[in-house]
Symmetry: C2
Subunit: 326 residues, 2 copies
DNA sequence: TTGTAAGCGTTATCAT
DNA sequence: ATGATAACGCTTACAA
């Protein structure tokens, strides 16, 4: 071997910058970080900055983390990335707010089967972990860990959402109601809460048991079968509450394929108010901005080491949107 | 202040483990990393492991990265997380394969306005960057950067997808065709390619210009207006190719709201074959497994420092799924 | 079979 | 106004 040519070029360090501009590494650090107290002459500042630029110096995160004891990384753990626009908005808001404090948000699709949690900790050292998307709050690396933890799910009143669906259907005169659940382990936590809320409401309103069917997104046959079940028999239902808007849309389409119309032969109501729901899905809208605000508050408190704030159970998170389907 | 109580407990280091088990730090490192050559007695191994466990030691990623010169982190850059199940599947496959090689995949929602790219490099030092979801390949921190870069978008023949839509519609006898584009800067790159492919095909087939309309997901009024445009006038279209399945679903729903039926008064075809498309959307399916395989190959080559492989233009990526809507 | 020590790139404390 | 220097936690030749 003569000269390695394909080898990634060596990293440019502050030491290189210091040497090239004839100052010490300390000075470079002061300049590059705009340290307030230490008065470096404008001439030196310009020189250092220009040299750094010229050499193509880029600060090294890991080294900085090691020295500082903080990585400035907030790690969000999700089950999958089909998280929809609610979670997307949440992440956007979070990252923007975190950026203002010098922190960066990274999302990792955590799957215990792919890599145990313990291994993850050896690879990345976040200052804070946010568990999202119906993910159970994972355990910390160890009791002695300096990492803080925030669970997002507990902050949202999914239970109320389920209840609101039933209450609305009841107010429209429906008495025999079905429930279309989403058969997906990834959203099991959220699904259970929404279902429980629906059950709360139906008990309080003295309605007969909800006729629950589990659906898989995209399994049209199952949707057809559920509709047949719901509409046949001596005591057919007149309305169905769906786990979310996508489930509702699938039901509405299945109804149409059978020549039935949502809102007439069968009322259908969803949750979320995703963009596609505007095609006529009555739904319980989640106010993402307000939700994001609460999460943000909790995240910021966690970062500052303040204790959790008890979940405020505000209904303002949600709003009923009436369209054609119910 | 007497004793700080709320302070995050100090990190447990390998030095602590070494001290507690009466061995050197080197030995601890050997044991914890299962270094093959160095023969440590089983007794010592057990002791060290047990001590580490007891003290709650967790390896420190940044320190490891600093020493190794590699972070073992692969950073995927996306525009947003409404990336749908195609990209989600991709990420799952990627992470699993990367995990087998000790690497971890993290996703960051990159927005130049929130934080310039240059700042990002100072926070995280990935070994590889993968730009996804219709994101233009970002520039590296500097020419001297050891970070490798892989763009995903160029690997998928979106252009062919658009062409396949038009070819199918043509084969079904349609001559005057509309095109429903998605008005979202986030997918602009992909949209342009699919559109260009559709244009390719319509020119080759000698069809009149496509009547293009830009739609916003959830803007039902715009969908109504587009339908009116398409269906009125002296020369109404008989079919429309949509940017993706969601756009197609919106159109189908809008048609139904107007008392029209997709596949009869107007044929509609999408792209992706998302789960919800099974409600009757004719579409060009993307074979995610095969797509993932190609990306994975490219990513692995990049990690190993091998040169890019030229994009293989296989049609196997896609398949036509005929349902009711066209 | 295990210990010693150097070094990765950065920041912060002290001198000068 | 700037420079030495130590320290962050880890890995790894080399010494014992």
């Amino acid at each position: 071997m003569t000269e390695a040519t394909n080898v990634p070029s060596k990293r440019v360090t502050t030491a290189d910058v210091a040497r090239a501009s004839g100052v010490s590494r300390a000075t470079v650090s002061y300049v590059l970080n705009d340290v307030p107290g230490s008065g470096i002459s404008q001439a030196t500042r310009d020189l250092v900055r220009e040299t750094a630029q010229r050499l193509g110096h880029v600060p090294h995160g890991p080294a900085r983390s090691l020295r500082l004891g903080r990585s400035m990384i907030v790690l969000a753990l999700v089950h999958d990335y089909t998280i929809g626009y609610v979670a997307d908005h949440l992440i956007a808001v979070l990252d923007k707010a975190l950026a203002a404090r010098g922190l960066v948000l990274m999302v990792h699709r955590f799957d215990e089967k792919t890599r145990p949690l313990s291994e993850l900790w050896g690879l990345v050292a976040p200052d804070l972990i946010v568990s999202m998307g119906g993910m159970a709050v994972p355990s910390l690396p160890s009791a002695a860990s300096p990492i803080r933890l925030v669970g997002v799910e507990g902050l949202f009143p999914h239970r109320r959402a389920g209840a609101m669906q039933i209450e609305y259907l009841h107010s429209r005169g429906h008495r025999r109601i079905g429930y279309a659940d989403l058969d997906n382990p990834r959203v099991a936590l959220i699904a259970a809460e929404r279902r429980a809320g629906a059950e709360d409401a139906r008990v309080k309103l003295g309605l007969p048991p909800l006729m629950r069917r589990d659906l898989l997104l995209g399994d049209v046959d199952a949707a057809f079968a559920a509709i047949d079940d719901w509409l046949s028999g001596p005591d057919p239902i007149t309305a169905v509450a769906a786990h979310n808007d996508e489930t509702a849309i699938m039901l509405v389409s299945a109804l149409q394929a059978k020549g039935l119309r949502a809102g007439r032969e069968l009322a259908v109501i969803g949750v979320d108010n995703i963009p596609l729901a505007r095609v006529g899905i009555t739904t319980v809208e989640i106010n993402v901005d307000e939700y994001a605000e609460v999460i943000l508050d909790q995240v910021m408190r966690a970062i500052d080491g303040q204790p959790d704030r008890p979940p405020t159970d505000r209904d303002g998170f949600m709003r009923l949107i009436v369209r054609d389907s119910a």
